[in-house]
């Protein structure tokens, strides 16, 4: 079987009238194997979302290719996306439908027969602990449930590749943990997961490999442990967490990011500000 997801030399440049073009994605390459969880770690504005939108075939890249199970997603989006599930960063649930119809309606776009769509919806809602909400309107769900439903919806076509753009941004710790558990289950089923995040705990906990992305480029790519060991070492890091209070802790991905870019993950770096 060909590799579930291969991204090669992906570039996306925004041309703006009267202003210099922005290179949001500046040549990104990686691949994600079956059962692997691969993370793109970087702050807002690093090029994660643009990369994700190119990978799902929503944006046409300026250069480069994306292959899903060997199919070029931009040349043949119809076939490629049959194998792809996408959970966008923003809430894109169809609020005109209740929870179950949300799922079955999406099955229609994949050409899945009604009966089979209903069967899959029921099975997924069970797995995502949403079955007792099946007749509720989306509006009445909590933020965590909405996000879970959006991930469940992305699996209605039984994809081989799942793309999750900042899946836990804005969720409380409990809702985040539930979603993490679900993702661990899904990769055990052989799903290749690509996830973007600016939470280093999320990247460390979920991802087999993490690519550190900054100004549209991947600066380093390895397992979280190797990244930390290679860039920082194993010595505890001391930092002042409150005025006058110094704390020693194990090094983490945030330290790696800081070392590689000179910036922290919390910093907001839109295109222009980072050119210096």
């Amino acid at each position: 079987m060909p590799c579930p997801l291969v991204v090669s030399h992906l570039k996306k440049t925004y041309h703006r009238p009267g202003r210099p073009p922005i290179e949001a994605v500046a040549g990104v390459s990686f691949e994600v194997q079956a059962g692997e969880c691969f993370g793109l770690l970087g702050p807002n504005g690093a090029g994660k979302s643009t990369s994700m939108k190119c990978i799902s075939g929503f944006y046409e890249p300026t250069e480069g290719h994306v292959h899903i199970l060997g199919i070029d997603v931009h040349r043949d989006p119809r076939s490629a996306r049959r194998q792809l599930g996408v959970c966008a960063q923003e809430d894109s649930l169809d609020t005109d439908f209740d929870v179950e119809d949300q799922m079955t309606q999406f099955a229609v776009y994949y050409g899945i027969p009604r009966k089979e769509g209903r069967r899959r919806a029921e099975e997924l809602l069970g797995r995502f602990d949403l079955l007792d909400k099946r007749t509720e309107l989306v509006e009445s769900l909590s933020g965590g449930m909405r996000r879970r439903l959006q991930v469940a919806r992305a699996l209605i076509n039984q994809p081989k590749v799942l793309v999750l753009d900042e899946p836990t941004t804005g969720l409380d710790p409990e809702a985040r943990r539930i979603l993490w558990d679900i993702l661990v289950q899904e990769r055990r089923r052989g799903l290749a997961i690509l996830l973007s995040t600016h939470y280093m705990e999320e990247a460390e906990r979920l991802c087999d490999r993490v690519a550190i992305i900054h100004q549209g480029k991947i600066l380093a790519c390895d397992s979280p442990e190797h990244l930390i060991q290679g860039q920082i070492g194993t010595e505890p890091v001391e930092e002042e967490i409150r005025p006058g209070f110094r704390h020693r802790r194990a090094p983490n991905l945030e330290d790696v990011y800081l070392k590689l870019t000179g910036r922290s993950l919390e910093s907001d770096s839109p295109g222009e500000g980072t050119q210096a």
Binding site: Y14, S56, G57, F58, Y59, E60, P77, R78, S79, R81, R82, L84, V86, A88, E90, D91, S92, L93, D94, T95, D96, F97, D101, Q105, F106, V108, Y109, Y110, G111, N157
Partner: protein
């Protein structure tokens, strides 16, 4: 490559929503034209009597009812596309969600336009049926204009989609609504023969798409003279507005 099946699947989504809220759908689709019919057709019509249309005297009720069919296409087509697609694009982000399934963005937008036109045609069809039932329209003329209704509605839906693509906020849709749609409704000849207006006004009105729609509508339903110019102007409108609206919305979503 556009796939008709994909477009149909998008269209089915709209139909599913329509059927789900069937009471809302029926009220918003059918009530408005009947209010106009009661008020203008029966109310005002009993005072006015007949209007002169190409030399023949037409009862005002029939005259205005043909106008209401056209107005229904304008309102249903424009409002569903303008407000509806703005909500779907901006708040629900459902265009974006569907456009990462095997359905492409281009197909999503065709589905939107075809649905908006279908719904407007359904609504206009109901008014036409009433016209036939009360003896104001010949059934053959009413039936013959129905496919054209879909084509007319497409112009107004494309106008709505273009407005949605160009509007920064949902409030700013009010500008074209008050400055273009309402003037069309009031001055293109829904309620009175266009010839009542000064010649300059008439010429300006012919530049707007509702005037040729009204002209064709009254040719088919009331036996007014058919002016081929009307059809030509409408073909031009469709050929310009549909690609313009689709391109604007695609640009907005991909920016």
């Amino acid at each position: 490559m556009i796939s008709l099946i994909s477009i149909f699947r998008v269209w089915q989504r709209y139909l599913a929503v329509f059927r789900k809220n069937i009471v809302y759908a029926l009220v918003t689709t059918f009530v408005e034209p009947f209010l106009y019919l009661l008020s203008f057709g029966f109310g005002l019509g009993s005072m006015i009597g007949a209007v002169n249309l190409d030399g023949q005297a037409i009862p005002y009720r029939a005259f205005v009812l043909a106008g209401i069919v056209a107005q229904t296409l304008l309102f249903q087509g424009f409002f569903e596309a303008a407000y509806g697609s703005f909500i779907r694009m901006y708040y629900q982000k459902i265009f974006q969600a569907i456009a990462v399934t095997p359905v492409t963005l281009s197909e999503v937008l065709w589905g939107e336009l075809i649905w908006d036109s279908s719904r407007a045609t359904l609504s206009a069809g109901a008014v036409l049926m009433v016209g036939v039932a009360i003896g104001d329209f010949p059934w053959l003329g009413a039936l013959a204009i129905l496919p054209f209704c879909f084509f007319f509605a497409m112009i107004f839906a494309a106008l709505g989609l273009w407005v949605a693509a160009k509007s920064r906020t949902i409030e700013s849709i009010s500008y074209p609504q008050y400055l273009l749609v309402f003037p069309m409704f009031l001055f293109c000849g829904v309620f009175f023969p266009l010839t009542n207006l000064p010649v300059l006004f008439q010429k300006a009105a012919w530049a707007l798409p509702l005037t040729p729609v009204l002209s064709m509508m009254r040719s088919f339903t009331l036996g007014a003279a058919f002016d081929p110019k009307a059809l030509l102007i409408l073909i031009l409108w469709v050929a310009v507005l549909v690609p313009l609206a689709r391109r604007a919305m695609i640009r907005r979503l991909l920016a």
